[in-house]
Symmetry: C2
DNA sequence: AAAGGTTTTAGAACCTGGTACTAATCGCTA
DNA sequence: TAGCGATTAGTACCAGGTTCTAAAACCTTT
């Protein structure tokens, strides 16, 4: 005998007629919603807590477990275990790549000892929640990463920098940093790198970096 | 990763099963290992790929699935689904807290419009893997966060900065940043903040920040 | 009122990747 | 020879599902 998802008919009588034409927003809180709204609510609930089971959703939405499952299927939402697996995999990959993340922003062009370009999109985690303006250190991180990357040496460390945040950068904006090496390549000790960051045509940040270099690019 | 690492008492229980020290059976590559070594290998395999099932491990270690499960139990390694759940939960919490992370480093003292102190420990994810030296932007992030935090305004944005990375900071070092507001509080427009970061007695970083302020600290 | 469509519910069979438990069996040793 | 740890086998059971079939329940149209 296999156990079957019993579900002790929690709401048999709720199936009375005209079941959602009542003053839909009663005291009772959640009356059964029409399909569209229920599915929307389902998405919200799962989004809010991805660890919720179908059985739990049954409780919250006052429909049968089959309905929940049909809804998930229609909406293309995978089952709990699949969701957890996806999260786990994502975080696992992230951990792996985070360690490798030597650079903030995507470098899309790099001419060693000459110049480089990187793109960095301002996302939720980069802004002040209140103002939606990017925190300065993320803008700096992009510029600094690029300045270090453009130096063709075993070891390159920022020695000093001079920054100007020209205008606030907002959530969703794509920040394009362009770095130019100002001293001749291979010159011992220190390199000077200028980084200019743009959103569209507009310059939003400017930095002058002095990069300490190990100066052993010959043995690579 | 999550290495539960259950006390591998090296030789507490003299494992009687030394009965596999016969000619190591070079023929078939991995022949069955003695218990201790197998368990060690098990830990390695799971560590290497936390998404591996017991059945897969059976293949790899050439023992029955019961043995795998006994081993997991002895070692306190949870089942695959539990492992995935833990990873998912951890990453979920991380995402949540990352978004809330308005400040890099722990602020341990703050006198608004006067001074502030924060501590930041250099961990794996902050250093160049090759050299174990902290990337500049993390050091900057700590200083910048503190400089912004110390300004008692609705909105405070970095306008410009002038940085000196005095000496490299290494993995494991605790960086203590001290910020001093150099202009009189409430003065309109811009505040000047000096941040000095130390490892022990040694100054490792110095920054002069100009912080743009909304200057509406009265209505708080 | 009957027909027809959508929505919702029910139930059974089956799946994966396990746990929990009992009971052999193997290989060596005291 | 008995004993003992290590290993294997097998069964029952579980959560949290998928898949499928089938029957209501509801709503609109004819």
């Amino acid at each position: 005998m296999h156990r079957t998802d019993g579900s002790t008919d929690a709401c048999g009588l709720a199936t009375a007629g005209a079941y959602f034409f009542a003053p839909a927003k009663g005291e009772t809180g959640i009356e059964r919603l029409p399909k569209r709204q229920r599915q929307q609510r389902l998405v919200e609930l799962i989004d809010e807590n991805p660890f919720v089971t179908d059985r739990e959703l049954t409780r919250r939405l006052k429909v049968s477990i089959q309905t929940i499952r049909l809804d998930r299927m229609e909406l293309g939402i995978p089952e709990l275990r699949e969701r957890m697996k996806l999260m786990a995999e994502r975080s696992y990959d992230q951990v792996r790549s985070l360690a490798a993340e030597e650079v903030i922003g995507d470098i899309i062009d790099l001419q060693l000892d000459r110049s480089g370009i990187s793109i960095f999109e301002i996302r939720e985690e980069h802004v002040f929640t209140r103002t939606q303006i990017a925190r300065g250190h993320h803008i700096f991180a992009q510029a600094n990463s690029l300045a270090v990357a453009v130096i063709n040496d075993e070891i390159a460390l920022t020695a000093s920098a001079d920054l100007r945040f020209v205008r606030p950068i907002h959530l969703g904006e794509k920040c394009i940093a362009k770095a130019y090496v100002r001293t001749s390549p291979g010159k011992a000790g220190r390199a000077k790198v200028e980084v200019l960051s743009y959103v569209g045509e507009e310059m939003v940040f400017q930095g002058n970096f002095i990069i300490y270099r190990s100066d052993d690019n010959k043995n690579r």
